[in-house]
């Protein structure tokens, strides 16, 4: 990740509202953001793309408030986390379901999700916080400190979410014979 390059593009967007520069930022970060949402929504391609689009639009609007205290990727994931949190809350109000039911609602209805079925089955046992922390740590290679910034919680809580999530996934892997071949 080249932070100086990001800062140059960000400056161009803020100063001259340069959409070409913002397009470069989207192209650079679309894959991790879309992958993050895809895993959180258990492979719902359309929903994850909608959430990713909302994340980038909010990033564009709030870019003048970016203070470069963290790197751009962490700031973007913070927005993504908020977008996801709002979406889950809205759906929860609408369907009046608990978290597991929401997960099942999103699950396994397209070719992408059947391809990753085992992965989603492993994630479904985790609560939302554990799932987000584990995905950011193991899939998106964020540090625990960065995850604490993204989730706006103490680093101790992040460690706890990761430990619990890891235990649950490890049990799933053991039960399903991963690593025995």
């Amino acid at each position: 990740m080249n932070n100086a390059e990001d800062l140059r593009w960000i400056a161009q967007v803020i100063l001259s509202r340069d959409e070409r520069a913002f397009e470069k930022l989207i192209r650079k970060y679309q894959s991790p953001i879309r992958r993050f949402f895809l895993n959180l929504t258990m492979g719902d391609v359309f929903l994850s793309d909608d959430l990713a689009q909302e994340t980038f639009i909010k990033a564009f609007l709030y870019l003048p408030t970016f203070k470069a205290l963290s790197n751009f990727s962490t700031w973007l994931f913070r927005i993504a986390y908020n977008v996801y949190y709002d979406a889950v809350r809205a759906r929860k109000d609408f369907y009046d379901l608990d978290e597991k039911e929401i997960n099942q609602l999103y699950q396994v209805n397209n070719s992408y999700s059947t391809y990753k079925e085992d992965f989603y089955k492993a994630l479904i046992n985790l609560n939302e916080m554990e799932k987000i922390a584990v995905l950011l740590y193991y899939m998106e290679d964020k540090t625990q400190r960065e995850i604490a910034t993204i989730m706006k919680c103490p680093i101790g809580s992040v460690k706890n979410y990761i430990r619990k999530g890891k235990e649950k996934i490890a049990n799933f892997l053991k039960e399903n014979g991963y690593g025995n071949e």
Partner: protein, 105 residues
């Protein structure tokens, strides 16, 4: 015990590595750019109020001595007041633009 933990860790890392894939853009960036909110041009409001203001001032000025008195008074003002007015003008306009920009978001 340690060996078992290490093996679990390795399985865990391998499991995530196995399912980590880059997602191709496939038009996502251009779709997102099309949905970016456009800045609204509300400058017509400024021109409208300016025109109404000037028209009202001229109307009052023509039908009363107010305009002539004002012009006469302007010529009698000390030069330093005029200079301060000219110097402050960009500052006031700058502040107005700043607040205007903030209201956009």
């Amino acid at each position: 015990m340690d060996m078992e933990t290490n093996e679990t860790d390795k399985n865990f890392q391998d499991f995530f590595k196995l399912h980590k894939h880059d997602i191709a853009d496939n038009g996502f960036a251009s779709r997102t750019l099309r949905h970016l909110p456009q800045r609204k041009d509300n400058s017509w409001i400024v021109w409208l109020f300016t025109t109404i203001g000037i028209a009202t001032a001229l109307y009052i000025g023509i039908f009363s001595d107010w305009l002539m008195n004002f012009i006469e008074h302007m010529f009698n003002l000390p030069f330093i007041y005029l200079l301060i007015g000219v110097a402050l003008f960009p500052l006031v306009i700058g502040l107005c633009i700043m607040f205007w920009e903030k209201e956009q978001y």
